[in-house]
Symmetry: C2
Subunit: 533 residues, 2 copies
């Protein structure tokens, strides 16, 4: 990936190396900080598009976040914009389902959502990392209220059918034992001088101290039942008050059980840049973002436009579409330029007048299959019984995880959780099931984490993204190989057409990818219209 960042990055790195050599590491860190490194976002503020030629027309295809934002910024710049959307709603994959909504999928199955008033599930995007500054900027600008999304929960369950006798255990218990044994093993190697050729005498003391502190080992470098280990993994009998207030310590699981469990992946999960704290969600449902964006360009949107062809020549672009709201009548929209945000699995089936190279790029990116289960229960038993407030329990079963709502914590009445989030092969299996079978499977597998799952269940909805006719998949899955061969072609402007959407970015499968790609597309069109691109 660095190979594509070109000359600037190379010279900056060379410069930093020189500074490092000259000034030592202190100088290097100072230089890195002052040069604005590691800010975690590629958002550089809203585009500055001055001097648009009045009357220049741009047609935008698709009213997801990328299309809505392109329409907004282009109109702000003075362009004459029209936005065509296939569905009878704006927002694209930014969607929330509530009681009364229906979901119809390819194959004809229709689900009517039966959630209680106020409850919802976000079947598409559901969380926003702190470094997705483009999306956060526009949420503020468009008045979309956000609240914390709880990703990591130390008291949530981990479950593997292959470990701990198939029994669930708390994240904190596993995390503490894992760090305890990892530190203990390394402390042994260092204490017994087995790494003296790698670790200098001075560093030996530092490593021992750091890992002992991190894992809360006993002073002799051992992970065992006692005050230190219970302080991280929890007590058998909790600390109390009065004459019987003394706690009793818990006992770590055997090291072989911990290391052989395959559960360490769930410690790595919240450490990924995209999953780190603080995360956010819109208050009241993810679709408040789509609605907030759509409010800005409501008058530009025409719903029910099924695009069939995108033609272009030296004079302009011609969009052929069927007007779904009017019996499918064939219509034509003409413009000077086009921003096309249609998802690639759909776009690849249309008649698009682009080079073979671009056609190959459009066909080169498979979309992930994904299924999400929204399940409503009579009450928040995960809070009342399990003391789990938001966050995620993980399992090695196909459902993968159960995610608890970050909103409405401690409230009474029915509540909705994410009863499964499948990607890849598990998603394909679930996609072949009927919606009712998917929910039944979610219930059955969920029992390993919540024994009272069935008795608390009310109803559910299962969204299989590969069966959503307007996207035919969840999101783009670029391989390294495809990226090298096709990315620059896909995101480059070709004649009067430029693509946008999460697929036209390095932030695939995230709304931020849609935002950043939209801004990149808008800037390309503006340059071209100015005769400089």
């Amino acid at each position: 990936m660095t190979g594509q960042s070109g000359f600037q990055a190379q010279t900056r790195r060379q410069l930093l190396t020189k500074i490092g050599v000259l000034a030592g590491s202190a100088g290097l860190y100072q230089a890195m900080t002052s040069m604005g490194h590691a800010m975690g976002t590629d958002f550089k503020g809203p585009p500055k598009l001055s001097g648009a030629k009045p009357g220049t027309r741009v047609v935008v295809l698709g009213a997801g976040l990328a299309g809505l934002l392109a329409a907004y910024e282009l109109r702000q710049a003075g362009y004459k914009v029209r936005l065509l959307e296939f569905q009878n709603r704006a927002g694209g994959r930014n969607i929330s389902l509530r009681g009364g909504d229906s979901v119809t999928e390819l194959g004809g199955a229709t689900q009517k959502v039966a959630f209680a008033p106020g409850n919802y599930i976000n079947p598409g995007p559901w969380r926003i990392p702190y470094h997705h500054q483009g999306l956060l900027y526009y949420c503020r600008k468009f008045g979309v209220a956000l609240e914390p999304f709880i990703q990591l929960n130390h008291n949530a369950w981990l479950h593997s059918s292959q470990a701990y006798g198939g029994k669930r255990l708390r994240y904190r218990e596993f995390a503490a034992d894992f760090s305890g044994y990892t530190a203990e093993l390394l402390a042994k190697a260092i204490n017994q001088h087995r790494l003296d050729d790698i670790v200098t005498p001075e560093e030996r003391a530092h490593v021992l101290s750091s890992i002992g502190t991190w894992a809360n080992l006993d002073d002799d470098g051992v992970w065992r039942a006692g005050a230190r280990s219970s302080q991280h993994r929890g007590y058998d009998k909790a600390r109390g008050a009065g004459v019987d207030g003394a706690p009793t310590f818990s006992t770590p699981a055997p090291r072989s059980e911990v290391m052989g469990s395959g559960l360490a992946q769930w410690l790595a999960f919240p450490e990924q840049l995209d999953m780190q704290t603080t995360m956010f969600q819109p208050v009241g449902g993810m679709d408040n973002i789509g609605k907030g964006f759509a409010r800005q360009v409501q008058d530009l949107i025409t719903l029910g436009c099924m695009v069939t062809a995108i033609h272009q020549d030296e004079h302009g672009v011609k969009i052929l579409y069927d007007d779904v709201a009017h019996g499918g009548a064939s219509r034509v929209e003409e413009a000077d330029y086009c921003v096309c945000t249609i998802p690639l699995p759909v776009l690849s089936q249309l008649d698009v007048q682009v080079s073979d190279r671009m056609k190959a790029a459009i066909a080169a990116v498979p979309y992930a299959s994904s299924v999400k289960l929204g399940m409503e229960f009579k009450r928040r038993f995960w809070e009342d019984n399990d003391q789990i407030y938001g966050g995620i329990s993980f399992t090695d079963q196909p459902i993968g995880q159960i995610a608890y709502p970050s909103h409405g914590i401690f409230s009474q009445g029915p509540a909705v959780l994410l009863g499964g989030y499948m990607f890849g092969p598990a998603a394909m299996d679930f996609t072949t099931m009927t919606p009712a079978q998917r929910i039944e499977e979610g219930l059955r597998q969920g029992l390993a984490l919540h024994p009272n799952y069935r008795s608390e269940f009310r109803n559910g909805v299962a969204v299989a993204w590969s069966r959503m006719p307007w996207t035919l998949g969840c999101c783009s899955m670029w391989s390294e190989q495809a990226r090298k061969m096709h990315y620059k072609t896909l995101v480059g402007m070709e004649n009067r057409l430029v693509l946008a959407g999460e697929h036209a970015s390095y932030v695939g499968c995230w709304q931020e990818g849609a935002i950043l790609s939209s801004l990149a597309a808008v800037e390309q069109i503006h340059k071209r219209a100015q005769g400089v691109g």
Copy 2:
């Protein structure tokens, strides 16, 4: 600590060991789960106090959470309760400061809080762990709304004047490098067969896989600049969109810098049971808990009662107090029993009719010195400039930490952060300063984390708990030795008097300690009044 848990815990552990031997670890885990282990709370629900003799009088001293709850539960049970409080407000250390409030400390210094409307600081308790089920239960019962408190923030700053050239770095950068090098070192020891006497051949593969997954090492077990390390520590140039969308990788700090930094303590911090996710705070200020509790017993409270003596004999208790609101007139309150929640540094100075053993216990527990700085800034620059939304930055300077508000994220206008939270020697140093000096020192030290600190500053308030006349310290600091010698005496009922408060618990310095100790005290009084205790 286990030594005090007595026979029951011993036999349970013996039983579990037997189950483990007979059934293997699967059986052991099943048994532990079904026996209700590891629930993390010692709260067993509200007390069941039936059959109170009508007319039995209980006087409660101190209207902090322990006193308020004792008054509430005793009245519910049918006792005739009166609650005497020294201050002119209920709530005790459960307090929030807002614009217009004043704080007067021993020595006479008075601070007038100048925060903008809606802003506040919680100078006492400020966060609630998920396992403090007693407090959470009564918050629900008394209608106190809670919201998530963000403890861990991967994007917050870490700073040591002794490491990284004295420059701040992101938590995520340190955390990723620390886990990377820890796993790399252990992987080397295992790969090179240096731990074969400790780790079996089968376990070798498990450990390598687990630590590699956890730290996101490259496949060869190395922590180096690349896709894997940047995925955890962040990129130099973030992932973007369009033709220039490719990221560039960041470079890990040298291992010696990471291991010698002393920063590993901050990785351990959020893994402590009391600091784990999910944490909570009351919406609008911590004192909404005190107010919620006080609403239940408003008619029982008399403010401005400075207790001078607690006398008791076979007929009852006599509380001597000065009526502050009426020129300090001496008054006497008589009752059958007394729950005393007066903090030990104050109580130890009063004339209390108890055994020498109890007097020794009361004198045996030192209280922590603690100082908190509430600082208001013109805007949330930590969000706008640093992308830090809630959570805590840590430094090795005396201020210890800067904690950002978990509420009002993304809002405009002035906001208050916790500009320092000192315990121990640092707190004593700050306590000797004037309030203005404390704030100036907070500003000066904060510059290492936020270079724009001074230009954004508006005003501040500094609460030194050792100078609060009604508590003379922050909270109880039991030593293991004092616990062994004095705890059972301190929490035992002596004649007609029983103590309550966080000091009478194993959950010291937490509101949960006050709650659990209050329930324990109430139960002791009820038993005694029933003639069974």
